[in-house]
Symmetry: C2
Subunit: 187 residues, 2 copies
């Protein structure tokens, strides 16, 4: 398992020593398309890294579902509120294709954070990267029109555009499916 981890992008910056420490707690798992891997309102006890397949995170509203995140191979995948506050989350994570993942128990990961400074800083940088990406999306919602956001999504994530239902992409971009259709038709 140690050798496998070396080839996963998110672990590339870690030393052999840190990888060895992590690898003791890692499991590989696979699930079918349609699986709800993480359920809102439950405390999720695992932290996942997606190896193959794609996934989405969404929240349920009164009349709609809002997709606010997509994961591809290499993405980390966890319940924010379980991970950060040890409380039930607000997001569901659904696998949009058959997926292979590796996982680690949150309790084990937290122990590693407390005992290994290299892993603690790795976890810090991971949160920081997610933070800067999320803030950029928030700012883009104000600066850019829906058509521009769609174009950038298409340019930046052509693979997701092909594999994900447009209704999910519409809510990810913050518009209705009708508006997305209009944008795509060029009107």
């Amino acid at each position: 398992m140690h050798q496998q981890l070396k080839h996963i992008a998110i672990f590339k910056t870690l030393s052999d020593n840190a990888l060895l420490a992590i690898s003791k707690y890692i499991q590989a798992v696979s699930y079918h398309k349609g699986t709800i891997l993480i359920q809102a309102d439950k405390v999720e006890t695992y932290f996942y890294v997606l190896q193959s397949g794609i996934a989405r995170a969404y929240s349920d509203g009164e009349s709609q579902q809002i997709t606010f995140w997509f994961g591809e191979s290499g993405s980390v995948l966890f319940s924010f509120n379980s991970y950060i506050n040890n409380k039930p989350g607000y997001e569901n994570i659904e696998l949009l294709e058959d997926c292979v993942l590796i996982r680690i128990k949150l309790a084990d990961l937290f122990n590693l954070y407390q005992g290994n400074i290299e892993i603690a800083n790795w976890g810090r940088k991971m949160a920081e990267q997610e933070l800067i990406a999320t803030e950029r999306r928030l700012i883009d919602r104000s600066f850019k029109g829906a058509a521009e956001r769609y174009q950038e999504f298409a340019d930046h994530s052509p693979s997701l555009l092909k594999r994900v239902a447009l209704k999910h992409i519409a809510s990810y971009l913050g518009v209705t499916q009708v508006t997305l259709s209009r944008i795509r038709a060029g009107k």
Copy 2:
């Protein structure tokens, strides 16, 4: 300085030992209202904690400024992209009142992260808290209408509502000042 840090909310979880390590690198500074503390397109070398006063972070667009963050007493204040990627940022931070702050050089903070596991985990949690707050705002933009976002802002941050110009609050909420006026008039 060590005794002072114990009374700052963000440092409350740290041990005496960690506070002592940090306090060696801390300076107190104060600036007048209107100061642009952090400028976009420059690599910022300090990390700040706001002690009194308020501040806003904004990005410049072609025709508008977008305010995407407010800081009050106790908030941490830094250039995301300088802090995370050591590159020039996309945000300016303006002090909206006379402010007292403490600051630490990023280089010193990073050294503390590498040498003290308690501080490394403190930095991790800080990034995680900012992340979850930012993601919530992003999701709220899809779920909630502008009127509801305004009401929640007013309920949650009555102090900011009184002290900050409405034009800044409008862009923080993702609407124009005209729309915010309409919301406030109840139309």
